[in-house]
């Protein structure tokens, strides 16, 4: 995939941004807090439909404006793709793809454009909270599988309703029998959507695990064996959907009293986690700073491979200020393991952080307070 043109209007601190890209590498340079990352964020939204930074859509619209626009001209393997996304400060969205208005602006955006974002935040993947790892899984699966997005949306709605029911029952002193009857109807949907989510997550992990293991072995010169294990709150997870539903149901039944006592839904993919092992030891507790960086690097490279493999398109790579975090050997490893014709966007505060090799044939954009200063190179 190749992003040929990007236009932003009232997006974050950009009143008006328009750039055409005709080199594989684009380097966005400028001091901190000038809006470099905002450009990558806009590109990432086109692929995942969600922002990795904004809590709500209104944060994406520049202050005092009603809406923000993202326009993109994209070259896919055998076609042209044009995306126009309008994000209203009210939280509503409008979407046109190749000039055709779409009915579901969130879901219909997915599956058109693919990218992999690698930022400093990703270093928390190993030691951060489980929610960081779940959002990582979700952001990739959104791109890979449209049905995953819908299942997750419906799943979350059912969990919200179930939590409200658990809370209300406590306040209103509802009888156990009535509560059980009503929990059942939400649990049935939670089991159906939740099992679909679990199956898709497991399938993805099985796939990325193999690739990531190979990268990790190469970065560590054969010393480190990486493993990924999905830790589910559901006991007895399997790759068979009917079996999964039975396991899910059993886990919910066993936690019935616990959920009532906590007043919260505690079983299901919204509470699951992912563990990384290095040589059979948990990376969360044992990995050094350097090893953590290697794992994240291996995961990001694998993410690229899996998307390319499943979608038949090389995703666009977004590197947000990561070179300051990677030493020379890891930078080298990253550069030499990318597909040769991958389009890359790189943000940095100092051009000196970036290897010379990357600067060759790169387009450089200088940013200051949401404006493009001048073009070099």
């Amino acid at each position: 995939m190749f992003l040929k043109k990007l236009k932003l209007t009232n997006f974050r601190n950009y009143a008006d941004f328009e750039q055409e890209f005709n080199t594989l590498k684009t380097i966005i340079i400028g001091p901190n807090a000038q809006g470099k990352t905002n450009i990558l964020e806009a590109i990432n939204i086109l692929a995942t439909s969600v922002s990795d930074r904004a809590e709500r859509d209104s944060n994406l619209v520049s202050w005092n404006n009603e809406y923000a626009l993202i326009f993109a001209d994209i070259q896919t393997k055998d076609d042209n793709l044009n995306i126009a996304l309008q994000i209203n400060s009210s939280g509503r969205r409008k979407l046109k793809i190749n000039g055709v208005a779409k009915r579901a602006p969130q879901a219909d955006l997915l599956g058109n454009f693919f990218c992999v974002m690698f930022s400093c935040e990703d270093l928390y993947l190993i030691k951060g909270s489980p929610s960081v790892r779940r959002s990582w899984l979700d952001s990739i699966l959104f791109q890979l599988d449209i049905k995953y997005h819908k299942a997750l949306q419906d799943y979350q709605k059912s969990v919200t309703q179930k939590n409200a029911l658990l809370k209300n029952s406590y306040e209103s002193g509802m009888s156990r029998k009535a509560l059980k009857e009503q929990l059942d109807i939400w649990n049935e949907q939670i089991i159906n959507f939740g099992s679909e989510i679990l199956i898709k997550r497991l399938g993805f992990i099985e796939e990325i695990k193999v690739v990531a293991r190979e990268f990790q072995k190469n970065i560590s010169k054969g010393n480190e064996e990486l493993d990924l294990i999905y830790q589910s709150t559901v006991t007895g997870i399997t790759s068979n959907i009917d079996q999964m539903k039975i396991s899910f149901k059993k886990s919910l039944e066993e936690s019935f009293e616990k959920e009532i006592a906590r007043g919260q839904s505690v079983i299901g993919p919204h509470r699951d986690d992912l563990t990384f092992l290095i040589n059979e030891k948990e990376a969360k507790s044992f990995a050094s700073q350097g090893q953590q960086r290697s794992i994240v690097l291996a995961l990001k490279l694998s993410e690229l491979k899996v998307i390319e493999h499943r979608k038949g398109e090389i995703p666009v790579l977004l590197l947000d200020d990561v070179f300051a975090e990677l030493d020379e050997s890891r930078q080298d490893f990253l550069l030499h393991n990318l597909p040769p014709n991958i389009q890359t966007f790189i943000t940095t505060t100092h051009i000196s952080d970036i290897q010379k090799e990357l600067l060759e044939n790169a387009k450089v954009i200088k940013i200051e307070s949401g404006k493009v200063l001048n073009l070099v190179g």
Binding site: R103, A104, I146, K147, K150, D154, K157, S158, T160, Q161, K162, A164, L165, K167, N168, A178, E181, Q182, D184, I185, W186, E188, Q189
Partner: protein
């Protein structure tokens, strides 16, 4: 510039309407004050009359000016089939589709987040009807949302000891739709609920 107080009050009244934002509320308020006095009197009379004359049918819980309503008292309708809907407006929609049986309006969908549980729906009234009349089929016609789905499941559990045949609306392609324009999810539901060609 700020609007004068009576105008502001009128705008606020409109803003309380479902789906009406500040701009539409303004437009409606201006439209009203530009009307003739006689027109406005007719309008306010219509509001009061609607509120005072519309009752709930004590049988099917539909909005009606008579109790029992025109549908429940109509001898030509099939009294052995009962269609469950969430709101009166859904009843109107099903009736336009030439359904000839009886209805029951539940008055909403189960949604704990809005504080609506089964006790807030007219399920007791429905069970009372099933005891009295000879109902052979219950058709559950609710939204295809998580709340609609949860309510359908609940009703199925509560009603299955009372009625042998409980059905729900089918899922699939909209009539006249071209296959290539149908979204994936609709199509996969349509595949699941495919039927034999008779």
């Amino acid at each position: 510039m700020k609007y004068t107080k009576p105008l502001l009050k009128l705008i606020e009244q409109f803003q309380r309407f479902p789906g009406v934002g500040p701009k539409s509320a303004e437009r409606m308020a201006f439209h009203l004050i530009n009307q003739e006095m006689s027109q406005l009197e007719e309008f306010s009379k219509a509001i009061i009359e609607a509120k005072t004359q519309i009752k709930k049918c004590s049988i099917c819980q539909n909005l009606s000016s008579n109790d029992p309503c025109e549908i429940c008292t109509n001898y030509e309708r099939d009294k052995t089939t009962i269609c469950l809907v969430s709101e009166s407006k859904d009843l109107a929609a099903i009736d336009r589709a030439d359904f000839k049986g009886l209805y029951h309006v539940l008055g909403g969908l189960i949604s704990p987040i809005d504080g609506i549980g089964p006790d807030n729906l007219t399920i007791k009234e429905l069970i009372g009807r099933l005891g009295k009349d000879d109902i052979k089929e219950i058709i559950v016609a609710l939204d295809s949302s998580t709340e609609g789905e949860a309510t359908t499941l609940y009703l199925h559990r509560i009603l299955s000891p009372l009625c042998n045949r409980i059905t729900r609306l089918g899922f699939g392609l909209s009539v006249g739709a071209e296959l290539e324009y149908a979204d994936e999810l609709t199509l996969s539901r349509a595949l699941e609920s495919r039927t034999l060609i008779s």
